[in-house]
């Protein structure tokens, strides 16, 4: 996934979010770009965390369901 290739630390360094006063048209565009980049960074981070959590939850479910089968063998007394 593209989002995964984003190095979060580098992106953090890149985003020094102290916005310069928009003295010119160029600085206004740069400020806008910075805000956009920050938004992309926040969304990417959120998606990565969500994906990681979903993966962990799925692994937990898988592990639990496997252990049910083991426990069922123990209770097969008939």
């Amino acid at each position: 996934m593209v989002m995964k290739s984003v190095n979060l630390d580098e992106l953090n360094k890149l985003l020094n979010l102290t916005l310069t006063a928009p003295t010119s048209k160029l600085s206004a565009i740069i400020n806008g770009m910075k805000l956009l980049l920050a938004a992309v960074f926040i969304i990417a981070r959120h998606m990565l965390i969500k994906e990681q959590r979903e993966k962990e939850a799925w692994e937990y479910k898988k592990r639990q369901l496997n252990s049910i089968n083991e426990d069922l063998k123990d209770s097969d007394i008939f």
């Binding site: 939850a57 049910i68 069922l72 007394i77 008939f78």
Partner: protein
């Protein structure tokens, strides 16, 4: 004035009751991770409880001819429900929507050739991560035409006397066994069990903690 004081008193009581706050156990081990069986389910309309009256683990005697009903109350969250029984005679896995009751039935044909079976289930709520709870029940199958004994009931609705039944060959009252007692006087903590000729037993008072 009296009514006003009563109202103030009731308001204070109500406020006091609301002050009982929920203490979260978010960081403690979940029941399923601890290998404990605690999820409340109903089997044949009775909550599955263990000897200590804790929900989630139970054993029951069930007739070969009747279907076994499993129910779960609606929950304020959606969840994944899983159940599997020994010999693979029953297995289900499905998502349960928020506020929806689970009603399952094991057909008697599926356990016709068995003397019993055990089932384990697990519930994975969608509003929490890496948390789940399990239930486990053991079913002993008895002959379809067997008639279970009736409950021991009060004599003449008095709640002071107990009708042990016409077929009580022996009665054990608070640990002392006597022969052919049909009606006995009881206290609030009297514990009784009876035995018939065909060794069919019944009890009163032992279920109280």
């Amino acid at each position: 004035m009296k009514n006003f004081i009563l109202l103030i008193f009731l308001c204070v009581i109500t406020y006091g009751c609301q002050d009982l706050k929920y203490v979260s156990d978010k960081f403690s081990i979940s029941s399923a991770s601890a290998k404990s069986y605690e999820y409340p389910i109903f089997i044949n309309r009775t909550m599955c409880l263990d000897l200590n009256k804790r929900p989630g683990l139970c054993a029951l005697q069930h007739k070969h001819s009747t279907p076994l009903k499993i129910e779960v109350d609606p929950r304020p969250y959606s969840y994944l429900f899983f159940i599997r029984c020994t010999k693979d005679l029953f297995r289900k896995r499905f998502d349960v929507p928020k506020g929806k009751r689970v009603e399952l039935e094991i057909d008697p044909d599926t356990f016709q050739n068995f003397n019993g079976f055990s089932c384990i289930g697990e519930v994975f709520p969608d509003d929490r991560e890496k948390v789940s709870a399990r239930f486990n029940f053991l079913v002993r199958l008895v002959k379809a035409d067997y008639i279970f004994r009736e409950d021991i009931d009060f004599y003449n609705r008095s709640k002071k006397h107990l009708a042990l039944g016409r077929y009580s060959l022996y009665s054990t009252i608070d640990g002392v066994t006597k022969k052919k007692k049909t009606i006995i006087k009881i206290n609030s903590d009297t514990k009784v069990y009876t035995e018939s000729y065909a060794m069919r037993f019944n009890q009163f008072g032992h279920e109280k903690r």
